[in-house]
Symmetry: C2
Subunit: 141 residues, 2 copies
DNA sequence: CAAATTAGTTGGTAGTACGAACCATCGTCA
DNA sequence: TGACGATGGTTCGTACTACCAACTAATTTG
């Protein structure tokens, strides 16, 4: 069928291994920047702008109580700050500090870079095709 | 430059979100079977047969010392056993117990099932195409 | 205004992960 | 044969991750 040396992985298996690969890139890059994958993920999510705790916990798929600790640790490192909102005094939006912003962008660029490098080695058009299919896949959510 | 036509995600972004999706499936299914994603991953890896600690640590991308603890916990639950080898008394191969085997297969089937379900909703041939591209991607390792 | 809801934190417990130091065994080679 | 380096795993100490139940404070609703 397809001209790979062996046989193609089954669909589920392919997805799992791919995920494993992405996780490893995350782990490697995080470590090189002296942080953890979880903290890196958090920082990258905040690049788009401050986010509230509840919304954040949905984005990273964590219980709110788990998130509190994660944000605590990242805040202790001076990478984010809890910004209180005057309109609703319960909420606090988590925002990157300048230092956190730099780190977040570095992490994001490095991770994207490594993944894109993988795409470059693919046959022409495969990268776009892959992204397109995944986009359709995620649309089912 | 990379003209992501319409709403297609960029390559790296697509991979990261895909990974996130897989992780969530793993987390959900693991929880439903009263275990953790890490332990589930370990169990599934052992379906093919017993594996030594060093080889295992390579497969799950963990330090050997971390793996010792993980195997300890899974062994305490009676799901695996450390089988000592007579030819080399240093090594121990980690093997599934009957109970562990059942759980491992259940986890594997359920996870594969959910991921395959996603594929079914895709346009014809997209699933195979995705698996094929990922297979090529992983071949670069 | 009281009751129900929402946003986030606290405290307790178990699990995850690392590095450095360590023990035992194996293979080698002098 | 016996010292020695390499290999396979474990132990220890530390920090982080993650959950649940219970909680406080502020908001919304009846």
């Amino acid at each position: 069928m397809t001209s790979t040396i062996g046989t193609d992985l089954e669909f589920a298996s392919a997805l799992v291994r791919m995920s494993h690969l992405v996780q490893r890139v995350f782990a490697d890059v995080s470590r090189e920047h002296d942080t953890t994958p979880q903290q890196a993920q958090l920082l990258c999510l905040l690049i788009g702008g401050p986010v509230g705790m509840t919304e954040l916990s949905r984005l990273v798929n964590l219980e709110k109580s788990s998130l509190t600790g994660l944000v605590d640790r990242v805040e202790r490192r001076g990478l984010v700050a809890r910004v209180r909102d005057s309109s609703d005094r319960r909420t606090c939006r988590v925002a990157l500090t300048p230092q956190g912003e730099r780190l977040a962008v570095d992490l994001h660029d490095e991770i994207s870079g490594r993944l894109d490098t993988l795409a470059e080695a693919l046959p022409d058009g495969d990268g776009e095709r892959l992204a397109a299919i995944i986009t359709r896949l995620l649309a089912q959510e």
